[in-house]
């Protein structure tokens, strides 16, 4: 009986130990292998995204500054009332139209989600000149649309009453995370950029700062 027990122990014991050890090692290593494979795959995906992103940023680096400035000029972040009035006067002068009674409202939130300001004014000129002027309004930046136009003709003189709407919107507040993908402009976006690049840009004058400080500006 004793030899039988010994035989059983020494023959089947190691087998049982090896089987249990194998099952444990298999379960443990399979889960670890799966984890590490996922991590490696995730790293490879992130690396591909970052490589594409870096390649795109390198490609657009040269022109992006000009393009973004053009887009910001077309749709500024703040109310463009002063710029719009300046552009209207410039445009009117170029077609020989005089503007009077220029008024502008405060900014309002348009139903489109953008903010809007309406500038109204009157102009006296022959009908053809007024129509040329009206069509030229939508060729300058910031984007301005003639939403209403009224024409009255008396004795050969035409008086036009215009309402021009101009838009603005705040800048985006959040940037996507560094490892999120980025796409180049679509063909529709490139076409739109090309269109707004032709808008007549406003002229800004830089007034040099005066170093002379007058203590009593009014001479009192």
């Amino acid at each position: 009986m004793k030899s039988k027990s010994k035989l059983l122990l020494f023959s089947f014991g190691p087998l049982v130990v090896i089987v249990l050890l194998s099952l444990f090692a298999l379960k443990y290593s399979l889960s670890k292998i799966s984890d590490i494979r996922e991590q490696v795959a995730a790293n490879k995906r992130t690396k591909n995204i970052l490589e594409e992103k870096l390649s795109l940023l390198s490609e657009v680096d040269a022109d992006i500054s000009t393009s973004s400035d053009i887009s910001l000029s077309a749709l500024p972040e703040n109310s463009p009332t002063a710029v719009v009035i300046s552009q209207l006067k410039r445009q009117a002068a170029s077609v020989g139209v005089g503007l009077t009674n220029i008024k502008s409202g405060g900014g309002i939130k348009d139903k489109s989600g953008l903010s809007r300001v309406d500038v109204s004014f009157e102009a006296l000129a022959p009908r053809e000149q007024l129509l040329v002027f009206l069509k030229s309004i939508e060729t300058f930046a910031p984007i301005s649309l003639v939403t209403k136009f009224k024409l009255n003709e008396i004795g050969g003189i035409s008086r036009g009453t215009f309402t021009v709407s101009s838009y603005w919107a705040p800048l985006p507040q959040k940037l996507p995370p560094i490892d999120s993908p980025i796409n180049d402009l679509t063909s529709a976006e490139k076409e739109l950029l090309s269109k707004i690049s032709t808008l007549t840009q406003p002229i800004f004058l830089e007034v040099p700062a005066s170093e002379e400080i007058r203590e009593d500006a009014f001479g009192i």
Partner: protein, 174 residues
Amino acid sequence: MAVNLNLLPQEYSVKSGLGAYARLARTLTIILSTFFSVFVLGAIAFFLVSSYTLRQTTAEIEILKSQIKSRQDTELRLALLKDRLAKVKIALSQGSTYRTIEKIEPLLNNLSDASVGELNIDSQKIEASVAFSSFLGLSNFFQNLYSMDSFKSIVMTSFGYNPITGYLTNIRFK
């Protein structure tokens, strides 16, 4: 002649069935041990290679991130550009009289012996009040009107005649 002597006492002898199982168990133990060893070695090798690859790609990712950070200004400008273009598209889709003016301009440019008393234009419609000093002017105007196909409807809302001032008509275009 060789003789096989079993010196083991009978009471200690092992039955032949159990002995066979014992041998089978020992064989299985050896085979399983071999597979187990190979598996463990393979797993260790895999972990070593994968850990190296993981460290390598992590280092490459950090380098790429620092390169992208150095181009953060470009990324900001690209995000700004896309944002502005989306909003420009919305702005340009708002109502404007530009297209409406383009439709009616040919009619206005071909007016003869006529003056536009009042013209009201918005993005949806046009209302015009036109005075004609002669029947010829009126006739030309209506001929041009009939040939226009860019409006959904053209409605004459009033028509009058005064021997001194001539003909006066109000028309709504939609």
